[in-house]
Symmetry: C2
Subunit: 144 residues, 2 copies
DNA sequence: CTCTTTGCAAACTGTTTGCAATGCC
DNA sequence: GGCATTGCAAACAGTTTGCAAAGAG
């Protein structure tokens, strides 16, 4: 998701209508590196459009995912789905302490290429998540 | 989790009591390669002990996870937590179609070793999941 | 005999659904 | 104007919690 207009076009191609609510969700996601959950997107959206509903956020996210404009990210120990508007192959660092998710782009060999067949499975995509402590949270731990 | 007695000892070390319910959950998990969810463990348990409660399953799983005897596994598109009694480093193959999770042990270089520091994060563990179609489900797709 | 654990039901969180009213195209 | 989309509330799935009764050590 590079810019709002790109997403608008993709929606129109598929005969999905462009509402002010949807356009605003697009603009919250474009260039967003925070891997927000639906609830967080809703909070930001509500500040701009007081009467929106959380269901509209879910509806929009589900279409975006179906169209391949965002990726869903699952984290062990966090039951909400996080959304990533960067659909280029890359990995994630997750801080067990402050729960932030950070993108990490490894060299081409690691991130872009992986076996397309393993144990007879035909592989479509790969998710790599590293669990640990981010720099800020390590400082807090150093006291120990 | 190699055998029930090993788990019993670990529980006793930590002053957790051994109940018939817990012992039965242990035996369901030992050598289980199906990555079951709580609900699935409950179903199997119920067949052996008709009056158990799902809450007891969750209680036991949470202690097992805290003691490091099982790992939790999260899958995009599946909201339930799956449990893996194999805590040796390994990766997972997930079938988008039939939802089965299969262990895959890569060579030592891939599975056991990874950077312990990335972008300033201190890394504790790594999860790799490959999403795709298992051999059985590919057969069904071949018609297309 | 004490204190943990159990079963049950209710609470809770994240997400989906049903539906009348609204509003894109 | 027709049909998708909205907001709201209720429904749903997975998990946790509160509590009286049961039971392990």
């Amino acid at each position: 998701m590079k810019n709002v207009e790109e997403v608008v076009e993709k929606f129109q191609e598929q005969r999905y209508k462009i509402t002010p609510q949807r356009r605003e969700v697009f603009s919250i996601l474009v260039n967003n590196e925070n891997h927000p959950k639906a609830e967080e997107i809703y909070t930001e959206l509500e500040a701009r459009m007081p009467d929106v509903s959380l269901a509209t956020v879910y509806n929009t996210l589900n279409i975006l995912e179906e169209l391949g404009m965002i990726d869903a990210v699952s984290i062990v120990g966090d039951d909400a789905v996080h959304y990533d508007p960067n659909t280029e192959p890359h990995d994630h660092l997750y801080c067990i302490c402050c729960h932030r998710i950070v993108d990490i782009i490894r060299d081409r060999h690691d991130s872009n290429f992986y076996e397309k067949e393993l144990l007879g499975f035909r592989i479509i995509k790969r998710h790599i998540t590293y669990y640990g402590y981010c720099p800020d949270c390590q400082e807090g731990l150093e006291i120990i």
